[in-house]
């Protein structure tokens, strides 16, 4: 896998997270919606940053699909929080994979994205009452 394809894969994960948060927010209370909005905004910033990096290497950025299949039905607060955690874990995995394929500023982008996804996953686990709220190796294959 080249740096460009690893970054493209991470960008697709960011697309999925942005889509997923649209579903998550609908099932949360006001405070939860604010958190979801902030998390989604962070993913948009990251997605745009990857697009810039890909453009610098003349790689066309992957487009978002109109919709993505959810891993499970999201019908209430509990399942919405589970999806939010899953979205962050999924992006963390993509960014962790990108670390081995990148160097310099691309790797910095990847490690910062991995840290943000891990921190956000922990915030969601705490909101959901999942214990422990941390994992020892964020982004490592489950």
């Amino acid at each position: 896998m080249s740096a460009a394809s690893a970054l493209a894969a991470a960008m697709m994960a960011e697309h999925e997270a942005i889509f997923g948060y649209g579903v998550v927010g609908a099932h949360l209370d006001r405070a939860g919606q604010d958190t979801a909005r902030a998390a989604e905004a962070a993913h948009r910033v990251r997605r745009d940053a990857v697009a810039v990096r890909l453009a610098a290497s003349s790689t066309p950025p992957p487009a978002a699909r109109p919709a993505y299949a959810l891993p499970f039905d999201v019908t209430n607060r509990d399942s919405a929080l589970r999806l939010a955690i899953a979205l962050e874990e999924h992006t963390a995995q993509a960014w962790r994979r990108a670390l081995a394929e990148t160097a310099g500023e691309d790797r910095r982008l990847a490690v910062e994205a991995l840290m943000e996804a891990a921190a956000q996953a922990t915030r969601w686990r705490r909101t959901a009452g999942v214990r422990p709220s941390t994992v020892p190796f964020p982004g490592a294959p489950a």
């Binding site: 896998m1 994960a13 891993p71 589970r82 999806l83 955690i85 899953a86 979205l87 874990e89 999924h90 963390a92 995995q93 993509a94 960014w95 962790r96 994979r97 670390l99 081995a100 394929e101 990148t102 160097a103 310099g104 790797r107 910095r108 990847a110 490690v111 910062e112 991995l114 840290m115 943000e116 996804a117 891990a118 921190a119 996953a121 922990t122 915030r123 705490r126 999942v130 422990p132 709220s133 941390t134 994992v135 020892p136 190796f137 964020p138 982004g139 490592a140 294959p141 489950a142």
Partner: protein, 182 residues
Amino acid sequence: MQVRRGGSGRGAEPGTGLRPPPRAPQPPLTPGGTSRRAFLGALGALAAGSTLAGCDLLKGGGDPPAPHPLTGFVSSTIGLAALYDATFAAHPDLTAALSPVRDAHRQHVDALVRAVGGSLSTSAPPVPNVAGPPAQAVAALAAAERKGRDDAVAACLANVARLAPLLGSIAAARASHLEVLV
């Protein structure tokens, strides 16, 4: 001084949620679980090494091998786990909430030792002083995690690609620990 990887079963890392994406080729150093025994084994090897260091002086001749680039990072990771141990001894009420974080640091030590081939020179950390009220102890943990996170980012950026996923995961773990501490 030699630090050897302690024998431990490879426990599954906890994970939840989304179906995993197609697996990328597994890096050779994908970390697994660790045990207290493995961690103490590494510390024990450290202690044994400190007595052997004198023997090296008698051998004479030849330059000492260059230390592995991760030597200092591994030492500071052992120090993070030790800081939690000392904190729990002084403030037992913190143990339940924070022992998963302490355990993560131990697993990081184990994974790092495994990643660098099971042998590296390092030094045992001093026992930290954690006297003071619990809030102060937690603030000290947060400060240590923040520095540890920044050190891990620097190590992730400075080291070879093979080590970058592990070091990045460690940086991310420390970033997530801060969410628990503040």
